[in-house]
Symmetry: C2
Subunit: 566 residues, 2 copies
């Protein structure tokens, strides 16, 4: 057994476990490839403060093969980095940076290159240019799966009319289907939550779709932050202490963490009974453990939140209005919170009613750092948050531990410097309790608005049903009165109208009727032979029975007015 033990290459590992990267089916492979390329383009543009314009083209080459081309107007990539970025797994800059970005793991696009190579044997073709004065570099790249290193097949300087930007071309096995988990849907949802982006998409049927930008300003650039002390763990702290260049523990805390000034750093040291001037290298495990305890006991300001740029409730609501034909929309953005030292913000938006089916589970639109998540809903913290919210109190039906049933679409967005995904394919958010709690709070916030809308709607429905009863029975009542009391036709009509008005008033809807009710009572008294009781004031009036002759039609104009308000 011992002889067979050996190292497993990263690329080897992921090529066998390709479903971890989002390549478990041909359909998903196409989506994942486009997603990774577009996300990278958006990140690069935003970092360079360029308004993104991205061309996506997918060409059907027959027998389940597709050519995917993604071209951006981003800042381009310096020559030396091109092979590593596209043809080496676990390589990148975003992993080491605490700032909100779409990519974060250094896996995405190289995984697509790996998949393309596995299924068609063809290298990735990349061209990139960093400025009008620099040449464009063209590469054909493959990945050495055993060593996880780029294999450069071609390396040329090429003419490219673009001022700057990057273009990637991949041939891969895929399958094109529309629907809720397609690349079409991904691009559509991307346009919704990124209104500053222009997307030009040519689908495999050679139809061109253009999603023009709706806003001429990019979202505020996310600022990079240092880790917050509350999120640090013993092992990490020990690694950091070993690696730091700071001369003392006090300056170590000030330099390496956010929200720690000299005072706070001193307080942390004192809490751990360690001299602030101790050299970081001298801190052993037990001392580090004391430091951790002291950090937990020290009051430190919450991490800064300018590193996060949420969509905003208003924009989220707008996005939903654009996408879903509903009757009621609402949204909310939660205040920032922290999980494991990483700040994050949760936003939720609802679209209710309209053309959505009432007897099906609600739909959930999930976004992480402005990227739509289309797969693995069941595994996502958002689904858990939805299922563990009590929707009955907001007027939807729900069986225990399930999604609620109703004509509702829920959009949930998490923006964070580090979104914890359940897998490298970044399809679902891990079940961190802090995140689920914030999601539930966001859902409750929006849920209350929805609840009051639904209950209002129900009241109105009940109301109109009752009115239906009124309209059904009152003619019979007045017919009966006419017969018993010998009313004339005009008297009958008058009584009927008055009855309608009084009953309407008891339904509590027509305030003006209530105000003028006394007039009616007087009139009724004048005509009527019967007795009418008024629930509102409990007053009982005796009518002068037997004097049916002096009946008079009430003022027609006034009655017409009431009819209109019904």
């Amino acid at each position: 057994m011992a002889k067979r033990q050996r190292e497993i290459g990263v690329a080897e590992f992921f090529s066998r476990n390709r479903h971890l990267l989002g390549f478990d089916s041909k359909r998903k492979a196409l989506l994942t490839t486009i997603k990774e390329a577009v996300d990278n383009s958006l990140d690069a543009c935003e970092e360079a403060e360029i308004l993104p314009e991205i061309h996506v083209e997918v060409i059907d080459m027959g027998s389940d093969r597709f050519r995917v081309i993604v071209e951006d107007n981003g800042p381009g990539i310096v020559k030396k980095q091109i092979p590593n970025i596209f043809a080496r797994l676990l390589y990148g800059s975003k992993f080491f940076k605490l700032a909100q970005s779409r990519g974060q793991q250094g896996i995405g696009i190289s995984a697509s290159v790996l998949y393309a190579q596995l299924t068609t044997g063809k290298p990735a073709r990349i061209i990139s240019k960093i400025s009008p004065n620099d040449p464009a570099h063209y590469y054909e790249l493959k990945i050495d799966t055993q060593k996880n290193q780029p294999l450069i097949m071609t390396d040329e300087v090429k003419e490219w009319s673009k001022e700057h930007g990057t273009r990637i071309e991949l041939d891969l096995e895929g399958s094109y289907l529309g629907g809720s988990q397609s690349m079409d849907q991904y691009l559509k949802q991307t346009a919704i939550v990124n209104p500053h982006v222009t997307l030009i998409y040519t689908n495999p049927k050679a139809e061109q779709l253009i999603f023009p930008r709706a806003v001429e300003t990019a979202p505020p650039k996310a600022v990079e932050i240092k880790p917050h002390p509350y999120g640090v763990e013993l092992g990490t702290l020990m690694d950091l202490l070993r690696a730091t260049k700071a001369p003392s523990v006090q300056s170590f805390f000030v330099n390496e963490f956010s929200r720690v000034g000299h005072g706070t750093a001193k307080q942390i040291c004192q809490g751990a009974a360690i001299l602030p001037s101790t050299k970081p290298a001298e801190i052993n495990r037990d001392m580090a453990e004391k430091l951790i305890k002291s950090i937990q006991a020290t009051k430190i300001v919450a991490p800064p939140t300018d590193c996060i740029s949420p969509i905003g409730a208003e924009l989220l609501e707008k996005g939903l209005k654009k996408e879903i034909n509903a009757e009621f929309y609402c949204a909310a953005t939660r205040p920032p919170n922290v999980y494991r030292g990483n700040p994050f913000v949760i936003e939720a938006g609802f679209a209710y009613g309209g053309e959505q089916l009432a007897d099906k589970s609600v739909s959930i639109y999930r976004f992480a750092n402005r990227v739509p998540l289309l797969y693995q809903q069941g595994a996502c913290a958002s689904a858990k948050a939805v299922m563990s919210t009590n929707w009955r109190s907001y007027g939807l039906s729900q069986s225990q531990g399930s999604l609620p049933i109703g004509p509702l679409t829920i959009a949930i967005h998490i923006a964070s410097v580090w979104v914890p995904f359940t897998s490298e394919s970044k399809e679902a958010i891990a079940h961190y309790p802090e995140i689920i709690r914030e999601m539930r709070l966001a859902l409750q916030e929006v849920g209350r608005q929805l609840g009051s809308y639904i209950s209002k709607k129900r009241r109105m429905h009940a109301e109109s049903k009752k009115r239906d009863y009124i309209q059904t029975y009152i003619p019979h009542v007045s017919d009966a009165l006419k017969e018993i009391l010998g009313f004339s036709d005009s008297d009958k009509e008058t009584v009927e109208k008055m009855l309608v008005s009084i009953l309407e008033k008891h339904r509590g809807e027509l305030k003006d009727v209530a105000m003028e009710n006394t007039e009616y009572n007087e009139e009724f008294a004048r005509i009527g032979k019967g007795k009418t009781s008024d629930d509102d004031d409990g007053e009982e009036r005796s009518a002068d029975n037997g004097n049916g002759e002096d009946c008079k039609a009430p003022d027609k104009k006034k009655n017409a007015g009431y009819q209109q308000t019904l």
Copy 2:
């Protein structure tokens, strides 16, 4: 931007993405650690054909720290390999071997070591002995997270009374809670599907639980296989062609794949218009593509299935009986199938009714290669298979796209040489269409048995309800007859009993009544004044009305017999 691009270390990557490995909460961390250690022990014992006896001890050390000790009687690990196996991610033997095993990725136990070190700063303590004559080696190990290399803190020879085996001791942050996602549950379910294992478990409350083995024979040892040609992809084929030592393409196919003899290999080459004697190194991309197409067009026997050892329907049913207090059990094992060239077998078992709640979603017990999966049910192919099965036809209620509602527990087991998990934490099975289809077929197979049980139960229920009606109304009918026809009390009693018998017979339950019905009809004719119609033969008999005097009580004994059969 370019300056910040750099390589991301594997250990670095996983320590930040620890939820990928099953360490997203303290509770889960404890479960994952025990699971990885126990799975390794079971694999080692089975490979060495030793009946496993595993001691698991979890000690509560206060303030959310636990010491986990797992000790087995396995074959032990040779000294040189101990540091790599326990303190290096992506290192192992099972990854390269196509055979059913619990571990497969070379990540599990080293991830636990990494987590322990991150949360408590303490190294893992390992002792292992390979035979009574060899010394036991004791190591204290940490992982260098940047280099992903073992850091050896202590390396000693120790006295250990055991003949052979391995023991690992870890201190980590955790949280102990019972329930459906606890280590208690994991060990319990492990005992169910591994009846050849003895588990001795001491929980953090210092209570000892012993799960003794129920079978004295280990399951047949899973045989290692070579990949099947149907599962190979272009890129992989090209890599294999480059790496092979075979002198010709023909011998390459015979040597590197299962189910390919010289004839089949020749056929594949001919189909691709390539000479069987071509050197593998001479095959270029286009030729490889032709080979792939030719493979798909060639008839090749399905992969051997002795590499898989399913639990078996009978044993699965037994396991369910042991675990769940239900009223109806059934199970089935599907024939082997293949996804991406990997053979797999699906088994399903149901436990219905009993103490299970009827108004809740069904419970799913999931197993992969005999390992219970307790988390991420929503992300699992099995959940998808359950939700996409039409349970209404088996008598359960289900709203579209949801789990069915009913007092049912479903066990699903996948046994394969390579289980595709959705993440490194091995909690859910990826959505490969072939796997979902097989799962649905298994569910349908067992579902039909359940359906016929439920509908039978319903019929019986309806039956007993009808009988209740009979018992309620017949006395009134006979009272009325007595009054109208002037029966004596004994006549009334006789008629009542006869009516009961006839109506029972019409419910189709008492066959013997039907057989003797004619006697009753005769008797009734003798007593009765009325007219009785017999639906069974449509025959209508006219009774001699008006001769009430010659009524006679029927034979008491015979009636008593019928009463008993009711």
